[in-house]
Symmetry: C2
Subunit: 209 residues, 2 copies
Amino acid sequence: MKNLPERTIERLSQYRRALLIYLSKNKHHIFSHELAGLLHITPVQVRRDIMLIGYSGTLRQGYEIKELIELIGKIIDSDDGQKVAVVGLGNLGRAMISYFNGKRTKLTIVAAFDINPEKVNRVYGGVPCYHIDMLGKIIKSENISIAIMTVPGSEAARVTESLVAAGIKGILNYTPTPVNVPAQTFLQEYDMITSLEKIAYFTKYNGPE
Amino acid sequence: MKNLPERTIERLSQYRRALLIYLSKNKHHIFSHELAGLLHITPVQVRRDIMLIGYSGTLRQGYEIKELIELIGKIIDSDDGQKVAVVGLGNLGRAMISYFNGKRTKLTIVAAFDINPEKVNRVYGGVPCYHIDMLGKIIKSENISIAIMTVPGSEAARVTESLVAAGIKGILNYTPTPVNVPAQTFLQEYDMITSLEKIAYFTKYNGPE
DNA sequence: ATAACATTGTTAATATTTTAACAGAAAAAC
DNA sequence: GTTTTTCTGTTAAAATATTAACAATGTTAT
């Protein structure tokens, strides 16, 4: 199932998480408007996304939650799962690890890297921390395909180079510094300050009309 | 300057940050293709955004960095700045605070909230931490308009209620749980797992062709 | 002086994403 | 058993966002 719109992919991930919660409440079916309500989007959009992935609900009952979860998994997960590394064990890096703990997903954080000798060779939230000099070696031996970068901005470029050299396939850059990667590496940058400034802009025009 | 496209707003924030770095390197002018290169976008898009905000560069020299920074500020900042609170001082909350330290922006984190008595009444990265019961009171007395939610998902709904009751204008929800707010409150949700699953999807189709 | 070049500003074209409209069909109501 | 209701699935329309195309014009080279 290729060629799905990027936005649809994002929503599929969100649908799945919402559905898992619903399922754990012993619900078996869900309507498009319920799912939409959970995610603050329109029911049409939900139906359209679900149409795109080729699933059909039943009239008057909506979608079978379990089936839908499985289908979404088939689309966005890799068959064999993917391994993830966190590079930089500051507050943000540790937050990422605890964020993942207990989340049922095919992605597993299997290694963390840091330069601080006090952190190296310890285990954080079940994840072993290696010295950053070991990055290339561990990524290859563990077959890690995705890296989350949570180092200081000043280190971003250098770490990115190492990651690319180690053959990483995807990088999620939480550093405030944009980096460059070759075309075959998938890069996504996220900047918290941009998010906040955007909110600031939109709340600014939200006062007395 | 209203009615700018949402994406343009996001990029303006990113332009400014890139420009500040450039400025600190004693550069005075920048070309659209340079700025584009820093952000992995096309020069056309840069020019178009800059056109939309009504700025003009000079031919053959590009844009005057200082002027452009100032203009972007006029558009996305509030005249008097805005105050921000971090709710939840776990790893992620602390990461937010240190992320902001030293960033020159009109947004200031002036308060943090937590429920843990060991954290309450201490200062983290220059930001005082109050007990979460004080949330409404402090938000009003300090005139805080934006909140960053970094509490556990299980607390998200309750905290959101308090924030709304306190009259907050914008919420940035980093919790894995979507929340509901009235229409006049601006809400942005960001889920780290969704970002990662998206990368996983796109790297999945990036192997041997 | 003239030609070649490099760069902006802007309109038009294209692509992507969301929203609307509505037919179809099972279930419920009567 | 007929009508009404309530949902889905899908096509069409609208809105939003990006990219292309190119005129305009100052700068450099010759």
